[in-house]
């Protein structure tokens, strides 16, 4: 029952996100777009390209590389950067480890996920970024549900959830003191389903990891994790070959794989429509405690 002046939900979300991204470019001197290689940051990059066309992106893509990435992610990243003519900055967790900024976790459940925060904050400081856009969505996690579009960070990069700035209408306050910065979340209002529908509608290319493939995996606490040189098996765990795909993509050590035969975007959308588990249900990093995400965010996590 749409009249000619009604927008679809995807159009409305797109216009809102483009508005936010342009607002970042207008209000900040040195913004950056945090690119992880996951579908959310891919969609955010696509929206940014649309926001400034025919000009190039007025900010670089920043990738915080844990060194534990799927190879496909890096290939995809490099091709994307080339095709849109963007500038890429890589912050390396390996370098943070080598220079003694962080200490690597030990043991089979070790993850570099938490170490990324230091590398991210160091990269922000090194390049003097005053706004870092992330692909976080409010439907992902309960602490994120209260995050603002423009989220203020103090001089230590920390988030104070109880003292967030009021954010009304579509007026965003990016004023800050020297040394402080903002995290901005242009796709705050998108759900996982919206992201997939939009990828389908816009025919956005994705890394093959999102589609079904054969992979050597092992099962830990009910989660399927990928075989990789730095992954250590615990007693009783063993490798087997399964038909899987990624529902989210992060660091290999915390990306749970889904058993799936979904071979196309349409398949994936049907699969998600029928699923009864959230996408972060496969993320080992969130299962650590009830407030795991809130605690990481306060420290300066994505």
């Amino acid at each position: 029952m749409r009249n000619s002046y009604n927008l679809t939900h995807l159009e409305e979300l797109e216009y809102e996100s483009i508005y936010v991204i342009r607002e970042v470019a207008a209000q900040f001197e040195r913004p950056a777009l945090l690119f992880s290689g996951g579908k959310d940051s891919i969609v955010m990059t696509h929206l940014a390209v649309k926001a400034f066309y025919p000009a190039k992106l007025p900010f670089p893509l920043v990738h915080i590389d844990t060194g534990h990435n799927f190879e496909e992610t890096i290939t995809y990243r490099d091709e994307l950067v080339k095709s849109i003519g963007a500038r890429l900055i890589v912050g390396s967790v390996q370098e943070s480890i080598d220079t003694g900024r962080v200490t690597e976790e030990k043991g089979p459940t070790a993850s570099r996920n938490i170490l990324q925060t230091t590398t991210l904050l160091d990269t922000i400081e090194k390049y003097k970024f005053d706004a870092a856009m992330g692909g976080g969505r409010r439907d992902e996690e309960k602490a994120r549900a209260k995050e603002r579009f423009f989220s203020h960070r103090d001089e230590f990069g920390q988030w104070d959830p109880k003292n967030q700035r009021p954010e009304l209408w579509n007026i965003f306050n990016g004023r800050k003191n020297p040394g402080e910065h903002f995290r901005v979340f242009p796709i705050s209002n998108w759900t996982e389903m919206d992201v997939w529908q939009y990828i389908l509608k816009e025919k956005i290319e994705l890394p093959n990891l999102y589609f079904t493939h054969q992979r050597e995996v092992f099962n830990r606490d009910g989660q399927w994790l990928a075989k990789a040189p730095f992954m250590m098996l615990k007693d009783g765990e063993y490798y087997e070959t399964k038909t899987v795909r990624c529902r989210t993509i992060g660091d290999i050590s915390c990306t749970g794989l889904t058993l799936s035969t979904a071979n196309s975007l349409e398949d994936i959308i049907s699969e998600i429509a029928a699923t009864r588990v959230t996408e972060r249900g496969g993320r080992a990093d969130d299962l650590r405690s009830e407030a795991a995400m809130e605690d990481r965010k306060k420290e300066g996590y994505f």
Partner: protein, 424 residues
């Protein structure tokens, strides 16, 4: 969720609504119901809530734990901030701005209301219209939420009585005449048992209207945006540095009102220079017309100086160009408003400074009466004030346009947003 298909998604609309209330009103139960019965709560989320409920020694699965996202909120068992929740039915996608309902959270209710198309006002069938009902309705009216759904909850506790429902409906309708809400509907529900939330109730055969979900799906939202008064605040100027687009100069922004068409004659504020629209660009496409709230890029046939903070309008339909503005404000900060104090104001894409000239009166949000004598405006207060800005703003009454009639007031010492205003 299995009701979804890849077909049909292009026809879905987005409806943003707000809910205000406290645990006692059954607000969390209602939201839990909407999400759960729409299959928008996932097993791992429900499992997490069950685990937490048991750990806390609760008898029932406490759905409020789903909505209370911050550690402090879970510890204190209260909702502090606005939380945004998402669910979808095969017809629409919904964004809920879930806010606490007590008077000390007026600012959070105002925040949630600012972007809403609709408000759900929860009324306890046992208590009828109360001070809290009045407060929530006033905020909905002040923020110009076009649609209000009065949900008479806990009908199970009044024996599903039609008489009770009709009596509350009558009282509320009479009270609402003092407000400015164009569309009010009434739904008798029991959030706890699910009557008329997603599934129609068999306990209330006398009720012929739709369930809450049907009402939410059916509200006509196409006319909620202003399509009459053309307003295009320039957000960003696009000047590609490339041979192919050497002469391209595009004005990027989000249409804040009315409709702009290719070929239209436009006037630029504040310079008052005129030109015509050469093209309306949307990425690689050029389109015939743009309307609120589309984000587009407009190019003009004349090379004139335009920058962020300027506004494209039409000569025959101008906003007010003024430095003296009367506002209804909601104060958002512990630091009280200072008469003669200087602040930064953000309005559309324009930043100016202002001085507060006068507090005219304060409003008691519980009974809508003007408060005489006390003119101190502190946290959560709603007041009518006058300001004078350093440069003109291009404003419309908030009543006519929720985008060009809204502004925020920023404390110059802390950079924090400390007040919000609606142009009278």
């Amino acid at each position: 969720m299995s009701e979804f298909s890849t077909k049909g998604y292009l026809d879905m609309e987005l409806l943003r609504f707000t809910t205000a209330g406290s645990v006692d009103d059954g607000k969390s139960t209602l939201i839990g119901r909407l999400l759960y019965d729409s299959k928008s709560i996932f097993e791992d989320q429900l499992e997490a809530v069950k685990r937490a409920s048991i750990r806390r020694g609760n008898e029932h699965v406490d759905l409020a734990l789903l909505t209370d996202g911050l550690r402090a909120e879970r510890e204190q068992g209260i909702t502090i901030d606005v939380a945004y929740r998402y669910f979808a039915t095969p017809k629409r996608k919904f964004i809920i701005a879930d806010t606490p309902g007590h008077i000390q959270y007026t600012r959070n209710m105002v925040t949630g209301a600012s972007t809403a198309n609709a408000a759900i006002i929860l009324i306890d069938a046992r208590n009828g219209v109360t001070e809290q009902t009045c407060r929530h309705s006033y905020i909905a009216s002040l923020l110009r939420i076009p649609h209000v759904i009065a949900c008479i909850n806990k009908m199970d506790l009044v024996g599903y009585s039609e008489e009770t429902f009709r009596s509350i409906e009558k009282t509320y309708s009479e009270f609402a005449q003092k407000l400015d809400i164009p569309d009010i509907r009434f739904v008798p529900i029991s959030a706890l048992h699910g009557d008329n939330v997603v599934d129609a109730s068999t306990n209330m055969p006398w009720y012929a209207g739709g369930t809450l979900r049907q009402v939410l799906e059916g509200i006509e939202i196409g006319n909620d945006h202003n399509l009459v008064d053309p307003r295009f605040p320039v957000q960003y100027v696009i000047r590609p540095i490339s041979d192919e687009f050497h002469d391209y100069r595009g004005y990027a922004g989000r249409v804040a009102g009315g409709v702009f068409r290719k070929g239209d004659k436009v006037t630029v504020l504040p310079s008052m220079l005129g030109s015509t629209i050469k093209s309306i660009d949307l990425y690689k496409d050029t389109i015939e017309s743009a309307y609120a709230p589309m984000s587009v890029t407009i190019t003009l046939n004349d090379d004139i100086d335009i920058s962020r903070g300027d506004m494209l309008v039409k000569e025959e339909n101008m906003p007010q160009l003024t430095q003296d503005i009367d506002l209804m404000v909601c104060w958002m900060n512990e630091k009280p408003l200072q008469v003669n104090g200087k602040y930064t104001v953000k309005h559309t894409t324009r930043d100016v400074r202002c001085i507060v000239k006068e507090v005219k009166y304060k409003v008691n949000v519980n009974n809508l009466e003007q408060i005489g004598g006390d003119l101190n405006v502190g946290l959560n207060d709603i007041a009518c004030i006058s300001i004078r800005t350093t440069k003109p703003l291009f404003v419309d009454p908030y009543k006519k346009n929720r985008r060009t009639g809204a502004l925020i007031i920023i404390d110059e010492a802390t950079n924090n947003t400390i007040g919000v205003g609606m142009v009278l």
